[in-house]
């Protein structure tokens, strides 16, 4: 009798598919934001920044310009599960070298799951000013598990999953290879 409880990791997006998805997301952004004069990109630390790096580089090469505003936002001190997880979480760098006042902000993260990270990110971002408009871009949307009324405007791939599963996004820069995996959640 095979052990049905153990789940084999399976690939959701391979390197080629991931690249295609990022390109498609960039074109959708351009459709909406044209030359990005009033828009800026903010990647959510730590994992959203890898996706934001890709999006930023791709946009620059498609539009043939280097002056798109791009920042990184750490949300550690804004989380609502600070003492629940038992350990304080170590923060990453926040670097937003421009004003977000009256800008159209594109918030970028890798996986949208409960929505709590994005809730924290909105709080953290609002401490920097009052944007005209905020949109959310994610690579993977696990649509069945939202705890809060938060939706992404640009979605790479929608996935229906159960809570015992976990979506893992690997990046060439840190994990050696680009891929999106569905694995068993050990926590």
């Amino acid at each position: 009798m095979p052990n049905l409880k153990r789940m084999q990791p399976r690939i959701i997006l391979n390197s080629t598919q991931l690249n295609l998805t990022v390109t498609r997301l960039c074109h959708q952004l351009i459709e909406q934001h044209r030359s990005f004069e009033d828009s800026c990109i903010i990647g959510v630390q730590p994992r959203g920044v890898f996706l934001a790096d890709r999006i930023y580089a791709k946009l620059c090469s498609i539009l043939g310009k280097q002056d798109i505003d791009y920042g990184k936002l750490d949300i550690t001190f804004y989380r609502d599960d600070f003492r629940i997880k038992g350990k304080p979480m170590i923060a990453d760098e926040t670097d937003i070298p421009f004003s977000i006042e009256n800008r159209n902000v594109i918030l970028v993260d890798d996986v949208l799951y409960t929505g709590r990270t994005i809730r924290s990110a909105l709080d953290a971002m609002l401490d920097y000013g009052r944007p005209a408009d905020v949109e959310l871009l994610v690579l993977v949307d696990r649509r069945l598990h939202r705890h809060l009324p938060i939706q992404a405007k640009y979605v790479g791939r929608v996935i229906d999953s159960v809570t015992s599963e976990k979506v893992k996004v690997d990046w060439k820069e840190t994990d050696g290879k680009d891929a999106v995996w569905m694995i068993e959640d050990k926590d």
């Binding site: 304080p88 979480m89 920097y128």
Partner: protein
């Protein structure tokens, strides 16, 4: 490591080098927050902190209060003057009564060495020592180390000199273990009456001559002459102290290298430190005060996160 090894900050001595690194790293993040237009994060919004100052303080108290407010904690302040302490209540009773009102963390300054250690054995709230007698002042030690690290990049291999009243100084009590844990060498300098006996056993060297000591060091921390702690005469006069152990421009110019000057405040200008040094570019004094808030935020954040 992503958590401190200790539940209380009673001193630097019980900390591991990895704890100190973690505090420094977290303080880097808070320092960035303090540069923002909105200098506040909601991390400790469900935490209540009692500041119990059984001994006078301006700088440390304001620094702790600001750090607590920047973390969105609720705070209550208590000072011994005008309280039941005057009616004869014991320390433990005072603190237990305050904790009965559901306080999560206690910041305490007390004139008796070991008071925070004693409390930590009896109560469950996190305790932060804001200076106990002549024992330790750990957040001062941490902010001194942090300010030096900020200037030099690391504490490893640096020569760190402490000048003045080592015997009564809780700043020296925290600076010495902190610098040693982080790989710096420590020397002390001052009149022999103000140097504790057997100081060499801490791995610290003693040099009575100020000029020679300054020539040895990269950083000199000049301590305040604490007249309030001297029940007997340790030095003939302040004037004589200033003559032999006062740091002035002339003395610094006679040394070939440029050394960094620190002072935990408040300065007795013209006694241990002259204005032409205290207000010069060589001085880290105001950076120390600025970094104090970030360091205290880091300590409170990390202790609260352990629960």
């Amino acid at each position: 490591m992503s958590a401190l090894s200790t539940k209380h900050l009673t001193g630097i001595k019980p900390l591991l080098p990895s704890d100190i690194d973690l505090i420094f790293q977290t303080a880097d993040n808070f320092k960035e927050i303090l540069q923002r237009p909105i200098k506040k994060v909601p991390s400790l919004r469900d935490i209540t902190i009692a500041n119990l100052f059984f001994e006078d303080s301006t700088r440390t108290r304001i620094s702790f209060e600001l750090a607590e407010k920047r973390l969105s904690a609720d705070t209550i302040n208590f000072s011994a003057s005008g309280s039941s302490v005057k009616k004869g209540e014991t320390l433990l009773d005072t603190v237990r009564n305050i904790l009965a009102m559901k306080v999560d963390m206690v910041v305490m300054r007390h004139s008796s060495s070991g008071a925070p250690e004693f409390l930590s054995q009896h109560i469950s709230a996190n305790i932060i020592n804001a200076g106990d007698g002549t024992h330790e002042h750990p957040t001062q030690g941490l902010l001194d180390g942090y300010s030096v690290r900020e200037k030099f990049g690391t504490l490893k291999g640096l020569n760190y000199l402490i000048v003045g009243d080592i015997k009564h100084s809780r700043v020296a009590g925290s600076d010495i273990p902190l610098m040693q844990k982080m790989g710096a060498k420590v020397k002390v300098c001052g009149p022999p009456t103000l140097i504790p006996k057997h100081i060499e056993e801490l791995g610290v060297t003693y040099e009575p001559d100020l000029k020679k000591a300054l020539e040895w060091c990269d950083v000199a921390n000049i301590l305040r002459i604490q007249l309030e702690r001297m029940d007997i005469k340790y030095i003939p006069s302040l004037r004589e102290y200033a003559l032999f152990y006062g740091v002035n421009r002339e003395l610094l110019d006679s040394i070939k290298k440029e050394i960094t000057i620190m002072h935990p405040g408040p300065i007795n200008r013209g006694v241990e430190l002259n204005s032409d040094v205290a207000d010069s570019k060589q001085s880290l004094i105001l950076q120390q005060v600025e970094n104090g808030v970030a360091i205290r935020m880091a300590v409170m954040y990390l202790l609260a996160g352990r629960n």
